[in-house]
């Protein structure tokens, strides 16, 4: 029989919320949260009331009305009769295009310059330092405008290529034209192409009618407009799937070579076999599809045919990459310097040379330090791409937050949507990069 009794149960009194340290912090937090929510509610309500008084209640109907304007660079079909919503998607894809291209080039340049800054060669390390300080201490907008000015003012106009006394000529056997409007390179075409398949065909009569005319077009490789939300090129799908499948087979071949090496000590030659495994099927697929190059030709005012990289895209891409690469270079340098000197000394003692030491020993460890700040540089690059309108690149700020905002007068809706776009892009980028960071970080067991 126990003699222990519970201590007298203290009843809860309201004053304990303030005077009892067990509850006080919670009370303060709840009050702060309430105050925040009230503040936010006041702001939202104020905006709502004032918009209602101005006769501009929040409405998203404008997104489905025809936009009426043209966009020069479109990755999916778009005409001036398409909706404002589609114009926003076209802009969003342009944003993503320049962001992805920029991140790749910036990473490459950043790593190279970061390593060069640590070079023992005085001139090389100084040059890298000048590059880093020059680019990261001048606003990116100036670099963007400068790149565009250089491209537009120094390169020849398309009409300079014309006539017998042409002052400019095409390069690489008349296959590449560099003009002050952009660069034209040959494009891959297929004479026996598989065509495109429309995705997300609507149920409305117009959508079906658009697709009827789409199917009437006999696979001339020309993209038809208006059928489906977007179209997927079957040629590209076939090419990529063959390529990926063959690369997988080469991996299996390498594993087989590893096994033989483990068992016998002799490694069978794999390089030529792997090359054959990848090249032969890809080449025969290209032959089957009737692969040929479409060369750009000067017709009328501009070059026609070929793949056209606009100056606005090139200027924005170069400026953003060079600017961001300066920051990445500093991250890389910091990451390398964070690796204990003993690591490279030990590697040198094993007989490795400078290059392999950096590639095999230092950089893999430095990645743990480099990757987290790299994420924010990628985010910065993506957000800085909203300066695109300075060079007339139609990104999502230029279409949704520019022309659509102006023509419809829906400031609140377009800006909210625009912010949501950038928020989602940034969150996706950081999720992916965080996953990568998880992989590269030190595994503690």
């Amino acid at each position: 029989m126990t003699t222990l009794t519970d201590p007298p149960k203290e009843s809860f009194r309201l004053s304990m919320l303030l005077y009892d340290s067990r509850y006080r912090s919670m009370t303060i937090q709840i009050i702060a949260l309430l105050a925040f929510m009230l503040g936010a509610a006041w702001l939202i309500n104020n905006a709502r009331i004032n918009l209602a008084i101005a006769g501009k209640e929040i409405s998203w109907a404008f997104l489905s009305s025809p936009s009426g304007y043209d966009i020069n660079q479109r990755l999916i079909d778009y005409t001036s009769q398409s909706s404002h919503g589609r114009a926003a998607v076209v802009g969003l894809m342009n944003t993503l295009l320049v962001a992805v291209m920029g991140c790749i080039l910036a990473t490459f340049l950043g790593v190279v310059v970061g390593v060069l800054r640590l070079s023992k060669n005085w001139i090389i390390s100084r040059l890298a330092a000048v590059y880093v300080e020059g680019f990261r201490n001048v606003p990116v907008l100036l670099w963007i405008v400068l790149s565009m000015t250089i491209l537009a003012e120094t390169l020849p106009q398309p009409r300079d290529f014309r006539g017998d006394d042409a002052t400019a000529s095409m390069m690489l056997f008349d296959s590449v034209a560099i003009t002050n409007r952009g660069i034209y390179i040959p494009e891959p075409l297929f004479s026996r192409g598989l065509g495109d398949i429309p995705v997300l065909v609507g149920n409305s009569e117009e959508a079906v009618a658009a697709c009827a005319s789409y199917y009437d077009l006999d696979g001339d490789g020309q993209p038809a407009t208006g059928c489906g939300t977007f179209q997927i090129s079957l040629d590209l799908v076939a090419f990529l799937s063959v390529l990926i499948a063959m690369v997988m087979i080469t991996k299996m071949n390498n594993k087989r070579a590893d096994r033989i090496q483990d068992a016998t000590g002799d490694r069978p030659a794999t390089t030529l076999v792997n090359l054959a495994i990848v090249v032969l099927p890809v080449v025969s697929l290209l032959w089957y599809l009737g692969f040929y190059l479409g060369y750009p030709e000067l017709k009328g005012f501009n070059f026609r045919g070929g793949t056209y990289f606009r100056n606005s895209l090139i200027a924005l891409w170069l400026a953003l990459s060079l600017y961001t690469a300066a920051f990445i270079a500093e991250n890389v340098r910091a990451g390398i310097m964070a690796i204990a000197k003993g690591q490279s000394e030990a590697a040198a003692a094993l007989g490795l040379r400078q290059g392999p030491i950096m590639r095999l020993v230092v950089l893999p460890q430095a990645l743990r330090v480099i990757v987290p700040p790299l994420i924010s540089q990628y985010l910065n690059l993506t957000k800085n791409s909203s300066l695109a309108i300075a060079v007339g690149y139609m990104d999502v700020t230029g279409t949704l937050g520019g022309i659509t905002l102006n023509q419809t007068g829906r400031e609140m809706e377009t800006l909210l949507l625009l912010m949501a776009c950038y928020l989602v892009i940034s969150l996706v980028v950081s999720t992916v990069m965080n996953a990568y960071n998880e992989r590269t970080k030190l595994k503690e067991r």
């Binding site: 104020n46 009426g68 304007y69 043209d70 409007r181 230029g398 520019g402 102006n406 007068g409």
Partner: protein, 338 residues
């Protein structure tokens, strides 16, 4: 229950805040200054001169309004706006009025909630190309690269025109007139399209205007005029009738030269009412009697303003054309001052 009271209080606070915004005329009087939105620079229409003083055809309207209200044509702050920022600037109250080559369209008037008070220039969209291209008609522009200011009606007209005529083009969107010029002169585009008047003005500012031609086709109607926010009719009346006063003054033969003798009284009752020597039109507007006389005194009547800034004797050299008085076969027509 408490929440309802709180939200009710918020609603009243919100209403009070907007009520304070009404009455632009009183705001301008209290401030002693008119905030006038202009463009970032179209020679002849609005551009700062060598001393940094804004001059031009649209600027004259702002100055006339300032003179009518504040008796001081220099009490104007000119706020440069781009095609993209202009409507937000006006809607948010950053400027009291816009006078910047802005086209009066249905959707801007009705959907964007603005009030166009009249037309000070009847314009249309034209195209300019370098002479060496040898182009003589817009119809020959299939496949051309076209420089265009974003956020304008010209952008929409261009898309419609090329689509209807089954032609393709490559738009190069640019923010301001100055940037467009740079791109056009560098040959980054073949064609520059905007209002024909602005094309003439821009061409006049080139080093070699003769190397460029404005094509004969006009593909749209672009009535340009000053505008104010929707819902403040008293303020809209002041701006509207100041513009009308300039137009009526030309029709009635009131000029900056003979203004002072007209003010002594004339035989024409409408001139007397306009200049405030009889009747009480100024009082009805909330201004004093000689408001219109002050507005006319700034730069003269509509015809004089036109000739000084963009007329045949200036480098821009625009003919009156549609912008002549209705008595001369034009469209300029002021409702009667009665």
């Amino acid at each position: 229950m408490k929440k309802t009271v709180f939200l009710g209080a918020l609603t009243i606070a919100g209403l009070a805040a907007t009520a304070a915004m009404a009455g632009t005329l009183d705001d301008v009087k209290a401030r002693g200054q008119l905030n006038c939105g202009v463009s970032t620079g179209v020679p002849g229409f609005e551009a700062p001169d060598a001393n940094g003083v804004w001059q031009g055809f649209d600027v004259a309207v702002c100055r006339a309004v300032a003179a009518a209200i504040l008796n001081d044509s220099t009490a104007v702050e000119f706020i440069p706006t781009t095609g993209k920022t202009r409507f937000t600037a006006l809607a948010s109250g950053e400027v009291d009025m816009l006078s910047r080559v802005t086209t009066w369209t249905f959707s801007r008037d009705v959907d964007l909630k603005f009030e166009f008070v009249g037309v000070n220039y009847y314009d249309g969209q034209g195209f300019m190309v370098p002479k060496e291209l040898g182009v003589s008609s817009v119809k020959e522009l299939d496949g051309a690269t076209v420089c265009i200011q974003t956020g304008t009606t010209t952008e929409l007209n261009l898309a419609d025109y090329f689509r209807v005529n089954g032609m393709s083009y490559d738009p190069v969107p640019v923010e301001t007139n100055a940037e467009t010029q740079t791109q056009y002169l560098a040959g980054a585009c073949d064609v520059y399209t905007t209002d024909a008047s602005a094309l003439a003005a821009t061409r006049a500012s080139f080093e070699a205007p003769g190397d460029h031609v404005v094509l004969p086709e006009i593909i749209s109607k672009e009535p340009l005029g000053p505008l104010v926010r929707h819902g403040d009719s008293e303020w809209a009346d002041v701006v509207r009738w100041t513009l009308n006063a300039l137009i009526a003054a030309e029709e009635l033969g009131v000029t900056s030269a003979n203004l002072s003798e007209m003010l002594a009284g004339t035989d024409n009752p409408e001139i007397n009412r306009l200049l405030g020597t009889s009747g009480s039109l100024g009082e009805m507007l909330g201004l004093d009697a000689d408001w219109a006389a002050r507005a006319i005194a700034v730069g003269g009547n509509y015809g004089e303003v036109f000739e000084t800034n963009i007329g045949a004797s200036t480098p821009i050299g625009l003919a009156r054309g549609l912008n002549a008085q209705w008595t001369d076969g034009g469209l300029m027509y002021s409702p009667p001052f009665r």
